[in-house]
Symmetry: C2
Subunit: 332 residues, 2 copies
Amino acid sequence: MPELRKDPIVGRWVVVNVENPYLPQDFNLTPFKWQGNQGCPFCYGNEHLTPAEIEVISPIPRTPNSSGWKVRVVPNKFPALRIEGDLNKHASGIYDVSNGVGAHEVIIDNPDHYKDMPDLDDLEVEYILKTYRSRSLDLRKDKRFKYLLIFKNVGLEAGASLEHCHSQLIALPMVPKNVAEEVKGAQHYYEYRERCIFCDMLSYEQENRGERVVLETQHFISFCPLSSRFSFEVWIMPKDHSVDYAETGDAILWDLSKIFKDTLTRLKKVLGQHPYNYIIHTSPVNTDVPFSYHWHIEIMPKLTSVAGFEWGSGFYVVQTPPETAAKLLREC
Amino acid sequence: MPELRKDPIVGRWVVVNVENPYLPQDFNLTPFKWQGNQGCPFCYGNEHLTPAEIEVISPIPRTPNSSGWKVRVVPNKFPALRIEGDLNKHASGIYDVSNGVGAHEVIIDNPDHYKDMPDLDDLEVEYILKTYRSRSLDLRKDKRFKYLLIFKNVGLEAGASLEHCHSQLIALPMVPKNVAEEVKGAQHYYEYRERCIFCDMLSYEQENRGERVVLETQHFISFCPLSSRFSFEVWIMPKDHSVDYAETGDAILWDLSKIFKDTLTRLKKVLGQHPYNYIIHTSPVNTDVPFSYHWHIEIMPKLTSVAGFEWGSGFYVVQTPPETAAKLLREC
């Protein structure tokens, strides 16, 4: 019989296929085909194809908007939200509407068109993580923004429109629903138990280390959560309680670079090239600081489509139990 | 500048591209290719390929599990949940878990492999809607079930694994998160205003009939909600306040058959063959009856992939404003 499991933070139920767990080959993934780097706006020499850069990491001196960079941040050419103007919230009948104030930046992870995180060296991964931090610190100076969402889409099925590996940052003028729910869930738990729910998840995983833990370093743990929504979902979480990703110091970020790369490398080894998203779950900015929150990264492989059952209920069907996924990722 | 709109029921924000609305041809849909009906377990003559039928609509006398039926209901061969056993909820560390008690039925909409709702006559559509009603009335007799989710997946991108048109019913031993949120949202509004929020949405759309209304019949309205999550999303809603789909009488169901078919036909005319889901949003069973709830059907075309931004925030980016979609659907 399948097992139902409830996420203790937001109360979401998932159905876990514990009887006939899918193995990687059972997912029938469409084989990935490269389109090639011709005309790619994220490759060296094509810097003029993007809007002017906002920030770069470059170990060598260079003219702005030319090659030589290691990580390059540019405004999204087709932004979901726009940076200009004051926020103008108003009513429209029973609805609330607002103009679309925000920022939408693209972080070009690496100049090499064909490299994703597993193919980079630790230092190159660290450049990306440092860029996330500095963009987050810079954008929060704009008091209109209440949330800075950093995420990555890899592969068509995960919503990537360009194959050259890149991350995105969207600055939002309100705390989005999913974040608000997570923050509230953590607050409720804290009020009741006077403990952080994420720290409790960590302890639980550490006590049952052979079950769902994938990797552990000095400062981080990566594990497949008991109530994962997706097969092979992995979370990376700092061991010490920490509210805000952007407050992570250099030494800890260096440790994160290694576990992050190692985790993604194992996913690629086990699943092959596959579509996935990752999202940095961190606290809101320019509003109350939720002390009970604990930042982490959620990596979500997209191996099946989301269908009517998921849309209608908020339940998810997980074909590979997290215990099976973690074992495969640990032992690969 | 894009426009932000907030769903008044669950508080979800959407970003609407009001500047450069996508038209149907801008979505780059993968052209649909039929695999064919060979070995299809839902076609006449292959009834032995499914588990034994639970219910059928058949105007002619027939032997069970043979051809001649108009609508046929069978247990899902690969059920997400299982009908046997008592619900056994218990703790696992900080998590709640349960055995996967439930029911998972497949409603084969029509014997013709190549026909979806727009290709059926009104009577055949009515057969389907009557089957939804009778399955819902039958399954609620089992007091373990708290929610009966009726939905349809059409096309690979919308999660359909078989191309022969079919609906599904999943009986759940708890009220799922998405439903609970909607019920709670409607209750909050009702406590504050002493009015049903869905009735208020209806009045608002009727007052601005030229904006987002697609069709109107004696008992129903179909419209593209102001805060749609998906391009060309359409809701069909009874005009009279009604909590439970299964309590709909025959005359009203006949009216629904017509507006439902007409709406789906218009979507197919405007978008071509496209992946979509629809979900019947109705009240929970065997628990408190939420008087402030108002059942309706949500039709959600899947024209783009859901990506990291949506997963991380709960925001949705809508490339075709509902006003543009409704106009195209009205005038086609």
